[in-house]
């Protein structure tokens, strides 16, 4: 008996499907297929660009299809909105430097999530607007749940992404910001948010519960990201990637749109997997990434080694001699190299060493830079062929064993021996490069401070480690000059 009206509803829906609806659905289907093919193209570097261009075409299909929707009455605001959005997005994308990619992605997430949240609010409001006959459509518990989910994840992603952006852009301190009772506050917030969520499902008309969820989620986004150090931000960005996807999917559930569900699910899965991979590369359990990082206020580990140890230094002249006669050099770049914009100078150095008969490889750690694959992008930008990149930690360590010179440029935690030797180190267990197995290690470092994670690095005090203090670009520039001077001198 209950099934009957439902079937009628379905039957009505199918007979009512006009040609226009068919075209819309077809455009969504094409868009979904192009999205999936686009992501698949990313498994092969040579096809990736074309594949993603096709995915962009898919987006165009989806937009055009949507414009045919019979619920749309005025086009004016849509057109203005599209134009304004494109006018903001275009210069943003063309001007952003590759080094700023992580915060750019975080920023862009905030936009996407903001859209999802606003759509959720509009949909919620629309359900209570009386139609021509004065009847109110209302919401079923299921749709209310979808809308609640949408604004919860959407709003959380908006503020969370903006916080991540602020930390990566160093508008906010990269150090974890903690206060007493932080966990209790967060747990209470989560509990109240879920309480409101439950309330909304039972009583879809309780607008208070709905807007309370929006407010709480906005607040949660801030309070969850605050206690996380800048070094962990990539995991947060990736996780927010996943949340933004879930918010988009929830939108799809709420308005009955498959392309939203599919695109959201793809993104949700992608963000989830990348978070997993990153936490593995940083030797953290997944639970630790999701909850641990948000709760545990890391003890200041940098302060503990108060003993004054001095690292040995080397002059660029002496370092240049060693580089000029090395037959194998492994460069281990970190985010510091990118910050100093040294990638082009590094390429020049590589070409110079190559000319002298030495081989140069780059060891790229999975978490080097500020997100996975970030340094690959930066080195590619400088025109370094990706055949010269060692992206596997074990491979790189094998090459390092026979290298004459290992050169660490602006990297710190990924070459910290504590990760293998000191059980009390927060880095313990993280797979790292072992530059000290090479004959000589040069470390180019801006100053004597600790790295992004605030952990002391014993590598700098090893017998075969020689420090070159200074701005990476300047130091490498003088190395190049000295190597060239060698030729002229002989």
């Amino acid at each position: 008996m209950i099934v009957l009206p439902m079937l009628q509803e379905v039957a009505q829906a199918t007979t009512a499907m006009s040609t226009r609806d068919l075209i819309i659905q077809l455009s969504y289907l094409i868009a979904s297929i192009l999205f999936i093919l686009g992501l698949r193209s990313l498994t092969r570097p040579n096809d990736a660009r074309l594949g993603m261009q096709q995915a962009a075409g898919g987006m165009l299909f989806a937009v055009i299809g949507t414009l045919l929707n019979s619920n749309i009455i005025t086009y004016q605001w849509i057109v203005i909105g599209l134009v304004v959005g494109a006018a903001i997005g275009y210069p943003m994308a063309m001007r952003i430097p590759m080094t700023a990619m992580p915060q750019f992605i975080a920023f862009s997430h905030a936009f996407g999530a903001m859209a999802a949240t606003l759509v959720g609010i509009v949909e919620y409001r629309a359900a209570w607007v009386p139609d021509a006959a004065g009847a109110v459509a209302g919401l079923s518990g299921g749709r209310a749940a979808a809308l609640g989910f949408e604004v919860l994840f959407g709003a959380l992603t908006v503020t969370g992404s903006l916080m991540a952006f602020g930390k990566l852009q160093e508008l906010i301190t990269g150090r974890p910001i903690t206060f007493k009772g932080q966990n209790a506050v967060n747990l209470t917030l989560i509990a109240v948010a879920f309480g409101s969520f439950a309330m909304l499902i039972i009583h879809p008309d309780s607008a208070v519960a709905f807007y309370m969820m929006v407010g709480l989620a906005l607040f949660l986004g801030i309070s969850m990201v605050l206690p996380i150090g800048g070094g962990d931000m990539p995991v947060v960005v990736s996780l927010l990637n996943s949340y933004a996807g879930l918010a988009a999917s929830a939108t799809g559930f709420a308005i009955g749109n498959n392309v939203l569900i599919i695109a959201g699910a793809l993104e949700g899965a992608s963000g989830f997997i990348l978070s997993l991979l990153m936490s593995k590369a940083m030797n953290r359990s997944f639970a630790n990434v999701i909850f641990g990082a948000f709760g545990s206020a890391p003890a200041s580990t940098g302060a503990k080694s108060g003993e004054a140890r001095e690292a040995k230094t080397i002059t660029p002249e002496d370092a240049a001699v060693q580089l000029a006669y090395a037959s194998s050099v492994v460069i281990i770049p970190g985010y510091g190299m990118a910050v100093a914009q040294a990638q082009h100078t590094v390429r020049e150095l590589m070409e110079l060493i190559n000319k002298k008969g030495g081989e140069v490889k780059f060891a790229i750690h999975p978490v080097a830079g500020r997100m996975p694959g970030h340094l690959n992008v930066i080195l590619s930008e400088a025109g370094i062929d990706y055949g010269a990149l060692l992206t596997d930690v074990d491979d790189a360590n094998r090459v390092l064993q026979t290298a004459d010179v290992a050169m660490v440029i602006g990297a710190n935690d990924i070459v910290n021996p504590d990760a293998e030797e000191d059980k009390s180190s927060p880095l313990f267990g993280m797979p790292i490069f072992r530059p000290w197995t090479a004959k000589t290690v040069f470390v180019i470092k801006r100053g004597k401070g600790t790295g992004f994670s605030g952990v002391e690095n014993p590598l700098f005090f090893r017998d075969n480690t020689l420090m070159l203090y200074g701005d990476a670009k300047g130091v490498i520039g003088s190395l190049i000059k000295e190597i060239k001077a060698l030729d002229e001198g002989h």
Binding site: G112, N241, L274
Partner: protein
């Protein structure tokens, strides 16, 4: 009933995502993140309906803002992905870098 179908679609799409994304090499993880970010701009579809529908002035304003945000996300996301991928053209191991 319709919600069940939606759940089917969601779960199957999620599976496809898992299978494909696990095969993306670490080399392309940053472009992958920016690509999925661009695709999440699909909220634009919802935003367009919200901005064009007749649900009262406030809803239209919110819908308009949603279109602006989503369009920014889409345009910036796809362009930056393209900019990045354009740099990955060289064949692995091929000597002599471009530029």
């Amino acid at each position: 009933m319709i919600q069940i179908f939606q759940l089917y679609v969601f779960i199957l799409a999620g599976f496809i995502g898992f299978i494909i994304i696990q095969r993306v090499p670490p080399l392309l993880h940053t472009p992958l993140m920016s690509a999925t970010n661009a695709i999440s701009g699909i909220s634009l579809v919802g935003a367009i309906v919200a901005a064009g529908g007749q649900y009262g002035r406030l809803s239209t304003v919110l819908g308009f803002l949603a279109v602006v945000c989503a369009a920014t996300n889409v345009v910036a996301g796809f362009l930056i992905t393209d900019r990045m991928l354009a740099m990955f053209k060289g064949k692995p191991g091929a000597p002599g870098a471009k530029k």
